[in-house]
């Protein structure tokens, strides 16, 4: 016999279910008066330096159907490539109940530690048993030295991680959960 290592196993994930918004964005589903504002409504204060950008997107399932019950979280560096302080750089969005669209007004992140500018993205919804981790990079940036993008075995999947420049500081980032054009999901 040897001593026990004593590590604890991580608690199992469970789907966020169809009512994730009650807990995470209650004001969005009309539950007012408990929290003044939904968490992650604005990632940066109004006077934070940096280029203002607008990100939009939808999440689609393996049959091409747009999910209208998804919650997406974002974690990004500021324009200088620094994380924080506090909860600065964090945002949370619910997809629109009719269209499935989400929209985030934020600041273009600076490059961090040799990586091209990007935003960490985490997706949960009914039917997703463990939250899906991915990244949003920006069309037009130099990705030739990014450690993750250059390492992808299937380089034809790399575009799934790159938000399309749609002009005037807007970028489009659609996520595909399964099938043709399946987004690269990460285990990092």
């Amino acid at each position: 016999m040897v001593q026990q290592l004593g590590y604890l196993p991580e608690s199992a994930s469970q789907t966020a279910g169809p009512y994730v918004h009650i807990g995470c964005t209650p004001n969005f589903v009309g539950i007012h008066g408990i929290y003044a504002e939904d968490l992650g409504a604005t990632p940066f204060p109004e006077d934070a330096p940096g280029q203002r950008i607008t990100l939009t997107g939808v999440v689609r399932d393996g049959l091409g159907k747009t999910l209208n019950d998804v919650m997406v979280e974002f974690w990004q560096a500021d324009a200088q490539g620094r994380y924080g302080p506090g909860a600065q750089g964090f945002a949370r969005r619910a997809s629109n109940f009719e269209t499935g669209e989400w929209e985030l007004k934020t600041i273009k992140p600076g490059a961090v530690a040799g990586m091209a500018p990007h935003i960490g993205v985490w997706v949960v919804a009914r039917g997703i048993n463990i939250g899906l981790q991915t990244r949003l990079y920006f069309e037009g940036d130099d990705h030739s030295k990014d450690p993750l993008l250059t390492r992808l075995e299937h380089q034809n999947r790399r575009d799934t991680l790159i938000a399309r420049d749609t002009g005037n500081g807007t970028y489009r980032f659609d996520i595909c959960l399964q099938g043709d054009g399946e987004t690269v999901f990460l285990d990092m």
Binding site: L8, S11, G17, Y19, G23, G84, G86
Partner: protein
Amino acid sequence: MTLMPRNRANHPLPYAPGYKSSIPRSPKLALVSGAPTATEQTGPVFGHELIGKLDNNLILNFTGEPAIGERIIVHGRVLDETGRGVAGALVEVWQANAGGRYRHKKDGYLAPLDPNFGGCGRTLTGADGSYEFLTIRPGAYPWPNGVNDWRPMHIHFSVFGQSFGQRLITQMYFEGDPLIARCPIVNTIPDKAAIDRLVAPLDMGRALPHDCLAYKFDIVIRGNRQTMFENRMEGL
């Protein structure tokens, strides 16, 4: 801090056909693994100014008038895999009311809404990782999956650690509920021991006489190593 790799054997399978919604919503291709970077190892830090006085009291936080149902305390600790309590972790919860009905326009179950129950709460863990909620026991409810599938009584939990890579959403079940073993969502988890770790025992030590029962629910998030060699040179 260095995140330990996630052991997927502790988790549900993404594709679990017993839970029909997972069939078109689960990735088919392998996850791309890599060492965590600053993006995964840092994360939002929430301050105590975020939390209102009644945020962790689901009995009173909606209208100020008490919600209907069996009063319970739900308490426990947020720990990481190294066994350390995680201080300042944001814990958010949501649940159905005592009749098994959610305050949500998509929930058409015939059980009535409780005018005094909103269904959400949040808190920050203390220095030792401990947290506490006061709520009512949620009802079981039927859901469209198989013809007669019921969710066991459960509370949804969302947990932030110190790193974005520790994000976890899970559910707490109640000791003794016969619906746990029959639930297709519970059974997306192949490891029976991992299911058992989501079942909160009755805790008479924390129950308040003539007031409420208590359940204890510890949550373990991904390990964050803090080593003496934290500042080692790149590549060493």
